[in-house]
Symmetry: C2
Subunit: 888 residues, 2 copies
């Protein structure tokens, strides 16, 4: 039979920190501290399994629970020498929630539980302190009524304020015992009026009320939202911690405080924290009194003159400092502590791994490894790869004033502010005059790329985490908020509306692409900086990883950024992005409008030198490294203009009538472009395009080899293949181009021909494909779209709902769907390797920059991941973590 209740205390502790799943974070750490002999007030934890039982059984409890809780209370009574519900010498307890992961949004704490009219009187008599007893009681009523009985806590505040006003005082502490007794009466009346039932006087009823409130709060809206945002499964459940009260507010030999074993903001190895004399924990948080520093040094730094804890209570401080060192050595990690001093005696109320900034995380990890506290592998695993984004992009000043307008998806990290512009040309123009602009669009398309490049940030109304805007912005390192559904446009007036706010072009917005927030006006930002510790950690990561990390880049600027960030080649160069420049698009459109192969070849001949030049610029940066170049991928209609005027220009340039151009455009239009005439289907139907691109690549390789003595190794990638024959047909063209260029230049070119595995059929038939392909690059964006049947451009309408309903707990475009898409990748790897044991395997979808996905790619044995330039450091770190985990 399951054990539903785990006690901790001086007389015996059932649990320890390894039982986090069962006891929650708080409960398991209380047990751990108690177990290693630290001063913890006795208590017990009701397990997360009870929470699961509670939801599986219509909000009821296991049969034995009442008995178990009563027994656990008895243990507390024995240790404290008090009695629960006893008027003479009452035991008071706190009740706290405690899930596996820290979860703001749930019921947090009820203090002083056990007080009623009798026990309050008894407490007053025993402590000889009416003020203390009734202050505790009135606080308890307010807390309990708020969280258990759903009475608005503002009502209590109002009564308190009224009384203070009537007494002519400003400070709660100036209220007398009699005042507080009166207040308790008033509070009880409020409860009765609001809840329709009297405040419960039975401590056991109070206890079960509080326990039920904790479990119920697991499913409140805030908790659910938090879980969704943080990928916490609802099935985990929460535990409940019941613990004997200790009081920091019984006089000047009492205190309460919070501390971090190292500085959570910088990572510096110094004791960091705050405390208040004669106060309860909530006073530290509430900010009515200003907490004081723990250490003398911190006080001096802050220039304060009130005594630090080190000065005011040197003995207790030394005890606490010893606990600090003990806990860090025990947990081998920076701890976030809560403590209370009751009449000169220290009690530890909580320890947990402390939250920290990315900068601090890196510094602590490196220093702890240097101190020998943890291994290098452990140091590598200590830093959240995604947190590196904080270091690479400007962030909003946390102290700055902000007016939040709305939220969208955190599509590309970093903060940016600038003037609103509604189209790409305008963005480019304004940027050229030195303005910072935010490009605001319904959604973006390849035509907007120059504007996106010119903009400081991008905001779109439509599109998910892997929409065009998101992908391109990440590639460029531009902050982007996408899919901001509250945003609407009035194109005639050039105005945008965000909920109630009307904005015009030129108005200022600030976006935070790291969390999706959109703010009105300018919000101060902090520029990124990279520390020595960062360099050290990354070098350790590079030594520890197996997989290579490449980047997705097609512009020299992006390629350079990526190399600076440690990219070891290009995993995806999307050649189509090269065709959107204004001089290229004309020839491109001419090619599209051509009536026959000859016409297309004429237009392609104009594109060849430009494309060759593009590759040369890129190859110069990538000399000696592998560069995967994807042949033209998007359907041709993406290159056509949308307006009739522009189409008329295209017609004129192509020497055809507008009507013919229109007919051609209509013929090219597609119902589902994602599944249309694109990818290698273009190369198969128009081999001349493939021929031109292959020639441009090989000519560029030869030119760079001649110039630098070394060239990149091009890996030419056939996109969207579903059959071996498609690859074979493209290979004919590519090999012919290579042979021709080698003959013309007399240079030997090393190159590979492979394919992008991005269709389910390709993964299933990977063995067949591997007969033709020397490498596979898994295109997990399209593979996710096709395997799951979800268009990432249209997913916004339901994917949020799907996350709430736990259908896809994590956005499958952000983190790979292991069971479905992952199974296909695995199949592709197995079949591919079986057919060609030395096949090179990589991944170039957005998942290449996602740590969870990288972990999966390590498992299945890919050779490299490729991601956008700004994700390269995160990918290097994640790859190292994945390999370390895989080894163990």
């Amino acid at each position: 039979m399951a054990q539903w209740v785990y006690s901790f205390g001086a007389n015996g502790t059932d649990g320890d920190s390894s039982m986090r799943n069962l006891l929650g974070g708080k409960g398991s750490n209380l047990a751990e501290m108690s177990g290693i002999g630290l001063p913890v007030p006795p208590g017990f934890t009701i397990t997360t399994e009870v929470c699961t039982y509670f939801y599986d059984n219509d909000h009821s409890y296991p049969d034995s629970l009442k008995k178990d809780v009563a027994a656990a209370i008895a243990l507390i009574e024995a240790e404290t020498g008090t009695l629960f519900a006893d008027a003479e010498n009452p035991l008071l307890v706190s009740v706290r929630s405690g899930a596996r992961a820290s979860m703001p949004g749930m019921m947090d704490t009820v203090l002083n539980l056990g007080l009623n009219d009798d026990t309050a009187a008894g407490l007053a008599a025993r402590a000889d302190d009416i003020r203390f007893a009734y202050d505790s009681y009135r606080r308890f009523i307010q807390m309990y009524a708020d969280v258990v009985m759903d009475v608005d806590h503002g009502l209590f505040e109002d009564v308190l304020e009224d009384m203070k006003r009537a007494r002519g005082i400003f400070d709660d502490t100036k209220l007398t015992g009699a005042d507080l007794q009166e207040l308790v009466g008033l509070y009880k009346t409020i409860v009765e009026e609001e809840a329709g039932t009297a405040f419960p006087q039975d401590p056991w009823e109070q206890l079960w009320g509080a326990v039920g409130a904790v479990f119920t709060s697991w499913m409140n809206t805030r908790a659910k939202t938090y879980r969704r945002l943080n990928n916490i499964p609802a099935a985990w459940g929460t535990a409940v911690n019941v613990q004997a009260m200790v009081f920091g507010n019984m006089g000047d030999d009492c205190a309460t405080g919070v501390a971090f074993t190292r500085d959570p903001s910088t990572g510096e190895n110094s004791f960091y924290g705050e405390f208040l004399i004669n106060a309860q924990g909530e006073d530290v948080v509430a900010g009515i009194r200003t907490p004081l520093p723990l250490t003398t040094e911190a006080r001096r730094k802050a220039g304060g003159d009130e005594l630090s804890m080190q000065e005011a209570m040197p003995d207790v401080f030394n005890q606490l400092d010893a606990v600090r060192i003990r806990l860090e050595a025990h947990y081998c990690d920076m701890q976030d502590l809560e403590f209370t001093v009751q009449q000169g005696r220290l009690y530890m109320l909580q320890t947990r791994s402390g939250k920290r900034t990315a900068e601090a995380a890196i510094r602590m990890a490196v220093e702890m490894a240097d101190e020998g506290l943890i291994s290098k592998d452990e140091a590598i695993c200590r830093v959240d790869p995604l947190a590196l984004d904080q270091l690479l992009h400007p962030t909003l000043d946390p102290d700055a004033q902000k007016t939040l307008l709305t939220r969208g998806l955190p599509a590309s990290p970093g903060a940016a502010c600038g003037q609103i512009v509604l189209n790409a040309d305008k963005a480019e123009e304004m940027a050229s005059h030195g303005h910072q602009v935010i490009l605001v669009r319904l959604e973006t398309s390849p035509e907007d790329i120059h504007g996106m490049h010119a903009a400081a940030g991008i905001l779109t109304a439509r599109g998910g985490m892997t929409s065009h805007a998101a992908v391109v912005a990440r590639g460029m390192g531009r902050p982007c908020v996408s899919g901001s559904g509250d945003l609407s446009f009035d194109e005639v007036s050039g105005k945008i509306f965000i909920l109630g706010t009307e904005l015009s072009e030129g108005d200022i917005l600030t976006i935070d692409g790291s969390n999706g927030n959109v703010y009105l006006g300018e919000v101060a930002t902090i520029q990124p900086r990279m520390s020595d510790a960062f360099a050290t950690l990354m070098s350790w990561a590079d030594q520890a990883r197996r997989m290579r990390v490449r980047t997705n880049a097609e512009t020299p600027a992006d390629a350079r950024v990526a190399v600076d960030f440690g990219a070891e080649g290009i995993g995806l160069c999307r050649t189509e992005h090269m065709f959107f420049d204004s001089d290229r698009i004309i020839a491109m459109r001419e090619m599209i409008m051509a009536a026959d192969t000859e016409g297309r070849e004429t237009a392609l001949a104009k594109l060849l030198p430009m494309q060759r030049q593009d590759f040369m610029s890129l190859f110069e940066i990538m000399a000696g490294l592998p560069v995967t170049i994807r042949l033209l991928d998007p359907p041709l209609h993406e290159f056509l203009p949308h307006s009739q005027d522009e189409l008329a220009e295209v017609a004129k340039a192509s020497g055809i009538t507008l009507e013919t151009a229109r007919q051609r455009a209509i013929k090219l239009a597609e119902s589902n472009p994602m599944l249309g005439h694109r990818g290698c289907r273009l190369a198969v139907t128009y081999p001349e395009i493939c021929r031109m691109q292959a020639r441009a690549i090989f000519e560029a390789v030869c030119a760079i080899a001649k110039k630098l003595g070394t060239a990149p190794i091009p890996e030419i990638m056939v996109p969207l293949a579903a059959t071996a024959r498609e690859i074979a047909l493209c290979k004919v063209e590519i090999i012919a181009a290579a042979d021709a260029v080698m003959a013309e230049t007399g240079q030997k070119i090393d190159y590979l021909i492979g394919t992008m595995v991005e269709l389910p059929r390709a993964a299933i038939c990977a063995g067949e494909l591997a007969d033709e392909a020397e490498f596979f690059s898994f295109g997990t964006n399209d593979l996710t779209q096709t395997a799951l049947g979800i268009s990432r451009d249209d997913a916004g309408a339901f994917l949020h709902h799907y996350a709430d309903a736990e259908i896809y707990p994590v956005d499958p475009f952000v983190s790979i769907d292991r069971d479905g898409v992952g199974a296909l990748v695995r199949l592709g790897v197995e079949n591919g390797k079986a057919a060609r044991p030395d096949i090179k395997l990589g991944i170039c979808g957005e998942h290449g920059g996602d740590p969870d996905s990288i972990s999966f790619f390590e498992e299945v044995g890919l050779d490299y991941v490729s991601c956008s330039p700004f994700r390269v450091p995160a990918a290097r770190l994640a790859a190292a973590q994945a390999h370390i985990r895989q080894k163990s």
Copy 2:
């Protein structure tokens, strides 16, 4: 080492009819006839492997081939007592192509090869017949020059006509030997002038020229087109048959003819054929002289007075009749024969399985089984299931005059003619006034359904075999030609253009949906009829098959047709089609425009009684049978109108502003609707829709059970699920509705809840899905779209090219792609059965009516297939054939 040449003849035969792949159809059957002692002129076959070698090796031959051919010629010389290239006693041969499958479009025949100025003189002397020798020679020159040297044969005809005119005669046979000698001279001059080289006098050069021409013709455009249309791989190659000439034109004891062992048109067991006395084979075909019937009975029936072969050459006829009986008994199938009588001696030149009408195929199969010639299983396998379409739909009168305008895809079988109308409303209106109309559209959408129903046939410019038009038309049994790319529209003038022809509304077109042809004006049609033999064969098929056959239907009319055709339930009832009726679409649009759940529920309450009524009509027909009902599937925007005026109406009806309606419509619009907010994603986000549909189904079941005492067993199908959880969420709604309706009516309802497996993820994770689903119906249309990444609406742009390039030799939307999509189906079956051994498995994609695919579904062990009503007989037959094949 490969044997490149196979001889046949009285002195030894290397091959037999089992070597069809190597020797081609003609060659293997010549060998077979020779082997069983029938009178076949000696000859040899150059294998199809030589053809493959020829294309793999830059149009060259294997080293030993010359030698082998010379040896084979020597064998013919030995048997015939003649010598090749010998002036005294020349051996003449025919050279014919012969692929595995009969292939019009390739080089057919060169006769009389071996003749030159010397051998012609020798032949004349030996036969003592100058006329015969030079008639043979001039025919040879013309044929050879045409097919080998690419000289226009019209030039020879002109010279011949000139001479006849000069001589004042009409009949070739009236030309004298001298005339023909002169003609030979003129012909040689033509060759020299046109080909720039003299007509080859060396018989060996002639022979190799003809052999090369056969191999070259394998890759000519007509042959390639034919192969594409008939799914014949280019890799098969053709064989070449070289055979001693026999002459039916050496006098009145000579004749030539073609025969069928049974009547190929009706299937009647009577000798059927034609012959001509003193003629070569080409004369029978050319139609210059009218051939005569073989049998006396046939002559009498035709009312002719010239003697039949039975009367004119009773001995030879009896020999031939014996050969007929021998061959039918030997091949156990109706044979198509070619024969020649040379100076009273019968020679068999060809036997092959004879082409027949569907009606004849059925009658022969049934009668042969009754005669004991073949088994019932064999009889079942003898009839091409797709040929049954001929019996169920009107067909074009083969004798009618036709003006072919263009061709499209044979999207839905049957012929129809009527007046052109360009929109659905007009079609409905004109049909209501008794006009036959052909609805001509760029493409169709669900809004056009009433017009499609009203039309006699449908013609579209866009869309493949599984486009909306094609699927709906097949479902309705309306002939349809889709994807007719030569068709363009001028919407302003209401005109259409087909290549050069301009047509207006009201003009008459005829379409043949069985082959995709579009004809100008009215072409006479023949109405379908079903014979007793048909009923017999179908009853045998029903006994022989394992899989059930259901139909895809949602209207009572379709359901009734399907039941009449033997459907054993409904495998797919697409509920959305029920919402397009004019009274329903209003409530549907109101639902879509609603701002919240309450608004949607109000609109859905209006739809409930209509939907219930729809189901009642359907269930009444299907009482006692299973009916699979798919929950609402298409994205909601499909129900919205396209014009602003109509949208204004919708806004008004919904009580919202046009602007709000417009915004809602914009919000609903999707980039890739196929991968959008559809399928169970609708039910998950708007559970009230699912709730209404489930209630309508269960209420209808109860009503019908009450009325008839028996009801259908509804199988409620959750579409587009990729996860178990989606099904689970829908199940909650469905079960609640069932429980509620059972409580309200007091009736017990049997039902199943299952899902449509139409996404790769669903197939891969089928085990997990089977935990929730009691049945799977494989939706292979969407599974093909997603697995291959091909939108069937957009595939027209490249799928033809893909067929030509042998990437997908068969349209994967017509016949299942076994390696890719099939592998997913297999995975789905295996995983599904592993998780739920009694899971019911069916298929409701278009492949459910395709014999090849049905064969695959038998292999993987599905329980049933479901197809459009008119395909039900074909599916029953195909399922039987598949099971018979599977057993053996």
